[in-house]
């Protein structure tokens, strides 16, 4: 679904092999340059960010660090228009975890020693994660280029949308001088990964992948549904600082599939009501 595998089943295996080979050819070609002067900054940034990824489960294992550093560095070098931007480091994890789960039980992920998998399996997981992340980022690259125009635009659109679907919430935020950029920037930059637990991210992305322009467009409706989901709490809060602290630390620790399903249903409803009717409810 990510657009990584060809639709034709017969060609899948050979495509996979080819893509994996291609990835490791990139590694061979570029990875040694990580200490060159021109790439030093990129590598240093990636290197200090890996231990600071979200979520925390896997990242402390040296083997994982190594794999993520390679994936991110190669991606940054191959995409000079944006290069590496903080937040992209988070985006590898869901793919990596899903691929790992083909080999172990889902519940084991947290305590699993990645280096106990055979080297060949790990290489395949690394290459597949790279390509899936690449595909994902292809659709949202303007989120990460200079001045991050994609994010600015989407935050504006979110604001517009919310003003139409829930004017009360919109007015309340406005009245207390809370700007959408102050909380929704991260929603766009990290695709809500920082706002919900990993299991929910994986469930959410599953839907994004089966939705045309899921990550670049449908995500907007999910964000709107997500914000309005907290309308009661938002409207009760009447202080700028408390509002912002609430919006930057939404209580989703215990969220599960059920919550995401409700969120997605609401997002679909919004999409159908508003996507093809730009003037619907407009003042």
């Amino acid at each position: 679904l990510q657009g990584y595998l060809p639709a034709n089943v017969d060609r899948r295996e050979s495509t996979l092999q080819r893509k994996r080979k291609e990835y490791f050819a990139f590694v061979e070609q570029y990875y040694d340059s990580r200490n060159d002067e021109s790439h030093q900054d990129t590598y240093r940034q990636i290197h200090i960010d890996i231990p600071r990824m979200s979520p925390e489960v896997l990242r402390l294992q040296p083997k994982v660090t190594e794999i993520f550093e390679r994936i991110l560095f190669i991606w940054a070098i191959r995409h000079p228009a944006s290069g590496y931007v903080q937040g992209i480091n988070d985006l590898v994890t869901p793919f990596f975890v899903v691929f790992i789960c083909e080999y172990i039980e889902e519940e084991e992920v947290e305590n699993f020693d990645v280096s106990s998998l055979p080297e060949e399996v790990l290489q395949n997981i690394e290459a597949d994660s790279y390509w899936c992340m690449s595909k994902l980022l292809d659709g949202i690259q303007d989120n990460y280029t200079f001045a991050q125009p994609g994010i600015q635009k989407k935050v504006k659109m979110l604001e517009e949308l919310v003003s139409r679907i829930d004017e009360q919430v919109h007015r309340h935020l406005d009245q207390h001088e809370v700007k959408y950029l102050q909380f929704a920037f991260r929603w766009m930059n990290n695709l809500l990964m920082r706002e919900v637990p990993l299991r929910c991210t994986i469930r959410l992305w599953d839907t994004y992948q089966s939705e045309p322009e899921g990550f670049s467009h449908f995500h907007l409706y999910v964000c709107a549904a997500f914000l309005v989901r907290w309308r009661k709490e938002i409207l009760e809060e009447k202080d700028f600082q408390e509002l912002l602290i609430f919006l930057q630390n939404l209580p989703t620790v215990h969220w599960g599939n059920e919550d995401i399903s409700v969120l997605l249903a609401e997002a679909y409803r919004l999409k159908f009501a508003f996507a093809d009717a730009p003037n619907h409810y407009k003042k």
Binding site: Q175, R194, F240, Q241
Partner: protein, 213 residues
């Protein structure tokens, strides 16, 4: 600004800036929640926290904006300097590179913030003294020459974290007091703007009655 549960006389907006990985987020969490996290997540855009302290006889709410250090975020983060009355420019005493670029951060700051902003240079990670690359005297001299406050801290073992924030808040408080006396005839009470209510939460005085000294 609506009514809050807490009562305070002033809100001071302070920004935390500096290279990626110098410990801005942990300085903030140590000050506001007395927490330190060895592998706290990278800050995305701007994150926010507050703490209320007593400065002399006034209740001051410090509204602290923690910014992402990476270059790519500058376009976004610079917008957050508006209305700030204080800034902590943080570097890592064990990484000279993070100190070398302090100049650039100052320029960035003065380009976007009010000229009257109180700035403090903070050398963080003194718990790693054996790996020190930036001599304290050198940083102190640089701060003196540039009219900055200076302190060395460790967010890990808490050394000087309270002091750093208290010092800058006190300095801002005094500046505001002075400003107020000077401009009591013209009714300008804010350091940052002529009309604090329109640019809240820049720095608003909650109870105008305390203007009458």
């Amino acid at each position: 600004m609506g009514s809050a549960d807490e009562d305070y006389n002033f809100v001071f907006k302070v920004v935390l800036i500096g290279e990626s990985g110098v410990g801005k987020t942990n300085l903030l969490s140590r000050f506001t929640r007395n927490e330190f996290n060895h592998d706290s997540r990278t800050t995305i855009g701007v994150e926010f926290s507050t703490r209320t302290i007593l400065v002399e006889d006034a209740v001051v709410k410090a509204q602290i904006w923690d910014t992402a250090g990476q270059e790519r975020y500058r376009a976004i983060t610079s917008a957050y300097y508006r209305g700030a009355v204080g800034a902590l420019v943080v570097f890592d005493i064990t990484k000279h590179q993070t100190y070398d670029v302090v100049d650039r951060w100052l320029k960035e700051l003065y380009d976007h913030a009010e000229a009257s902003i109180v700035v403090m240079l903070v050398g963080n990670k003194t718990d790693l003294a054996q790996a020190r690359e930036v001599p304290m005297e050198e940083a102190k001299m640089f701060a003196d020459n540039n009219g900055l406050l200076f302190i060395e801290t460790s967010a890990l073992d808490s050394t000087n974290v309270e002091e750093a924030f208290e010092t800058i808040l006190k300095e801002i408080f005094h500046k505001v007091q002075k400003q107020k006396q000077r401009s009591s005839q013209s009714n300008t009470v804010s350091l940052a703007s002529e009309n604090p209510s329109s640019t809240a939460p820049a720095q608003a005085e909650r109870r105008p009655c305390c203007v009458a000294l």
